[in-house]
Symmetry: C2
Subunit: 294 residues, 2 copies
């Protein structure tokens, strides 16, 4: 579940409701591609913008459409008590794993974040992935804190932010984190532009945004990495560089939503206001980059 390709679909929505049909079809695409897990209600799934009932609905739809592929569900929220409720809802709905980010409004301390994970891990009966995403949570994990949390019961993986483009630095970063955590806890890369580097640097999983819409090209990179074909990993990822450039510039959520809209996989608009997908010239430029994606 927390190795290989874990792909994160959008939760398409407008100001009235979630597009249940479109969402179920996105999950079905992933199930057919035979990836390692489906990560719903990640940042790409806009978990932070949905209430408890909506998140429960999305989880139930995902489990129904996943055809046995393990489903990992994002349970992040500002309050510990709300995370506990979301964890319980997700497990009751059939989630195979949980993804937990230290979401903040007030900047959190290390002790507060540790206690938060400790409480949730004690109340969980499925494996948990620690979601380290300083861009959205504004919390920076130290390696020591990662080590303390990774030693808690039920912690099974860490989803790390993008690595340096310099392979030596990337390898060193993964090795340094690995030295702090138990053997059974995997490390997964996120930030798709850093995916290939992450795999080459020794991450066991790729938590992918583009893979949430187009699993096959990302799965090909993961498989090349698993058979040790680094040249192929680099070749395949470099072919996607025009898309990575958009991710870096506009944020992966706006870009992947625009791609899904352009490909007719979701209605337009698909994001919760105030967030908007790309428009005008940017949208036109993106159209030219995605012709080959199926």
């Amino acid at each position: 579940m927390f190795t290989g390709l874990s792909a994160f679909p959008l939760t398409p929505m407008d100001e009235v409701s979630i597009d249940e049909n479109a969402f179920s079809q996105l999950v079905s695409r992933l199930a057919q591609a035979q990836i390692n897990s489906i990560g719903v209600l990640g940042s790409t799934g806009s978990y932070a913008y949905l209430n408890r009932e909506e998140r429960n609905l999305v989880t139930r739809l995902a489990v129904e459409s996943a055809q046995g592929t393990p489903v990992v569900v994002g349970i992040g929220a500002l309050r510990t008590k709300d995370v506990l409720k979301l964890a319980e809802d997700a497990q009751k709905a059939g989630a195979n794993g949980l993804l937990l980010a230290p979401v903040s409004y007030q900047k959190l301390t290390e002790d507060e974040v540790f206690a938060h994970y400790q409480t949730v891990s004690q109340h969980s009966s499925v494996p948990i992935c620690v979601y380290d995403n300083p861009t959205t949570t504004h919390f920076e994990f130290s390696d020591v804190l990662h080590g303390r949390i990774a030693a808690l019961p039920n912690i099974a993986s860490i989803k790390i932010p993008p690595l340096s483009n310099h392979l030596d630095e990337a390898k060193e970063r993964v090795a340094r984190l690995r030295a702090h955590i138990p053997h059974h806890v995997t490390i997964g890369i996120s930030g798709d532009h850093s995916g290939a580097t992450g795999l080459i640097a020794g991450c066991e999983a790729w938590y992918s945004v583009l893979g949430g819409l187009f699993p096959l090209p990302i799965l090909a990179i993961v498989k090349a990495s698993q058979r040790g074909d680094i040249d192929e990993v680099n070749r395949l990822s470099t072919a996607l560089e025009p898309i990575w450039a958009f991710f870096r510039r506009y944020g992966s959520l706006r870009v992947i939503a625009t791609i899904a809209e352009l490909k007719g996989l979701v209605k337009t608009p698909s994001l919760p206001l105030p967030i908007k997908s790309l428009s005008g010239e940017e949208r036109q430029r993106l159209t030219a980059c995605i012709a080959d994606l199926l």
Copy 2:
């Protein structure tokens, strides 16, 4: 309402509920002090951690206890549609003004933030204060954007983050912002350690955290400023420097909650987990600083 002292009380709570009684008493203290407005559900009021029903409850309690002092209500939320509902709730409950921060999970663009304020301002029938707080929202307003938003209907004030300690820089910053906004829009300082500087630099309001618990010492500084007695402003603020030092180090929310707990004005704990008030030696050191506060 958006000049002089606007004081922001805590919303005391535990993992089960809001302490309605303690909250009403905090609001009554402020009403008795005859300040210019009471700002409930600001960052100090933990608005981001409460759901719609809880926020409605807090607003109703505040209006009941405010004895005619204008009540300003924080309506920030991640989604535009949720802000609209909160704005409607607050106005129905008798709010005299609204406070709106561009709360984010995904980093927002200038255009997204402008459209967000535009939509809310069109749907409001009471004055709105723009809440510029990059520490919690992770959005940095440009002066041009402030100018565009301040020109919208119903925008009446801007709550700005702390200024430079260097008075020349602080004055220059306030003057630069003033040059971008209409005459009728006031500028209010926040970050209590920067309050005196803000008043001397020309801000018309102090949006105060300590004033939400102890209005009199802050009101004395505001009144000294209004009669042009800068020496007295500095003297009174400097006397509070030990508390400002705590605010800077631990964040004002944890410190003001700890002070309220120590003074018996709220129960312990009073903050939503994972956030904790100060404990151990820090709490002891704080006790020594607050003996004079009434």
